[in-house]
Amino acid sequence: MLRQILRTFREAPGPISLDLLAAQLEVEPTVLDGMLAELVAMGRLTRTEGHEPVACSACNSQGFCPYVINTETICYALA
């Protein structure tokens, strides 16, 4: 599983949040959280601030809306 997570990060264009990664890998976020913490401890990933696309029904700003929703969240990226 850890190797699959790292592969996903290698193929991703940028940092990924826990929820997005959990949805992509179809793993419970609570289970994935521990694995990400382990990878961070190993020095393979870093925790970083990032933006996560939010699906607003009437807006296509993909979560980068500066006015309504602050979508900043903890993300992970390859170290």
Binding site: R3, T30, G34, M35, R44
Partner: protein, 724 residues
Amino acid sequence: MAARIDAQPLVVLAGNPNAGKSTIFNALTGARQHVGNWPGKTVAVTSGTARWNGTSVTLVDLPGTYSLSAHSLEEAIARDFILDERPDVAIVVADATNLERNLYLAVQILELGAPTALALNMMDAAEADGTAIDIDLLQRLLGIPVVPTVGSKRRGLEELLQQAIEKAIPQPKTVDYGLELERAIATLQPEVARLVSPVAARYTTLKLLEGDRRVIEACDLTADMQPLLANARAAADQIEAVYGDDVELLVADRRYGYVHGLAHQVVTQSRSAQHRSTTDRIDDLVAHRVLGLPIFFALMALVFVLTANASAPFVTWIDVTVNGVLAGWVTALLTALSAPAWLLSLLVDGILAGVGGVLVFLPVLLVLYFCLAVLEDSGYMARAAFVMDRLMHLLGLHGKSFIPLVVGFGCNVPGILATRTLENRRDRLMTGLMVPLMSCAARLPIYVIFAAAFFPGHAALVVFGLYVLGIALAVLSGLVFRRTLFANSADSLFVLELPPYRKPALHGLLTHMWRHSEEFVRKAATVILLASMVVWALLNLPFGVEDTADSLFGKVAGAVAPVFTPLGFGNWEATGSLATGLVAKEVVISSMSVIYLGSDEAEQAAPVNVAADLRTVVVGFGEAVVESIKVVLSILPGVNLTNQGGAAGDTGLSIALQRNFTPASAAAFLVFVLIYAPCVATIGALKSEYGGRWAAFSIVYLTCWRGSPASSPTAGARAGLTGS
């Protein structure tokens, strides 16, 4: 820091943050607590005294951690305390609502070798959430007491303390870290055991391979440990070269796989279907109690249909290229050079016929290994073991024993070596004795050529049937062993690692495919080349012999041949070929090629047209690709792009076989090839793993199968192999 008070039992509480560890600690100790710092550290330590059964117990609340990897101060403290202070019991407090995550730490503590008990805390919340945990199964799988608790309501705490103190025993849990790592651990562990307690030796060895700084520093203090550290470094480098990842990551990855399998086996969620992952939904079908087995056999049948059919056009193409074009060129060249007749015969009748006769089947193996790699890399093979679990339990084995059997489909030798991953000798031995009945890839060319020659419309079915027959005989053998040799042994219980399903990467599939197939090519250039030359020489001795039946080979094989007359193939050609198969099963085909093709066709230096030959080769390859695609597409329901039966087309050898066997004797020959004595490499592996006596026993019991009605030609007829 908390330490032992006289003979008072020392119990530590470990667990993830927010698992309710401190709540349990407070409930057990009440006001009898002391808060201090760990020596030289800023991390607070809380210890206290609990009363149990009229005596006092020292309780230490370790810092909350998710793991014991010692990347953080808290993790290092928790790990060092358990290793250095040797508590009487370590109680792991796990959040029952999030068991999978919490089990990771529990498994690591078990690996430390400490007597351990598991508290499934917040059970009320887990039940309210629709989570059911099979506590009895979890106890048996981990081999430790497991007690449901609700710390906030003080439920289950008395029982927890009682079970922990009375029933927890040192029982290092062994996670299977894969063949390469397990081999390195087995090599280094005896030396490490001189440094640490025997129960912690495996854990310390693992840490050395991971390059754990603290463990290495501890070993580094002793000068005579330098060779051990150097060996560990070398082993780690080798493992990293194989897997392309560092050992620490590989170990954590395998441990998470183990924990996932454990949670899958003991946790049942009653949440609605929309919250279930694709992996869960696929598992509902392929790991289903009733449907799982038919799905497994249907998938295996598909693999063999693909293997036999998709490779067939390429088999014909290589045959034309090697035994037609290349043999023609060699003949023309040597004739032009006025080479002696014996040299021409050696090269064309011996080497080209023998080696070429085997290499023709390289596409068959490539397709087989590709299909098996798809099943492996997608995560299905782990489910296959899960599905086979119930069947294997009939034999007193676990589904995990099925993995070495599947590995045996490639080659019996690694299949036997893979039994090392099983935890007790009885399981290893029983599984190892069953592996030779798995049809290895070396036997596949024999199946394919005979099936194509005698059962052209049903070649794939015949090949699949032989694989199934091998499995059936293995199961039957297992049943007999269980009731005789291993009648008094207890059944074992294992955790099956279940990785999530994933899309296999093409590069990985091709790497797997070639890594397994290159052994076949290597053998063709060594063992088979040598065997072909020896067989050719024996067929031409004494010098000047006219008829190969009068040769040394023919005479010796002819003397033994009557033994096989009841089986329908009591001729010297078949007998001699089977005998050479003891070297390696592929040699049966190379020997038959030398015997039948060598004596069949007199070499004539036909005029060579290089351009026409090259055109034949290139166009033939293009046609093979197109035909193979058509055959694969024709497997889809309602699609029929080809009129062929799908088996390999007629090669020179298949035509020769049709002249020397009947469908009944061919069927008997195939069954005989499945069950006769293993090759020398397999016998060697059996001897090295289980000793000479068991290797000898393996040959004897397979001989008993050989004498069974299964290998008689009438059995083939009864099974419908011979047609009408």
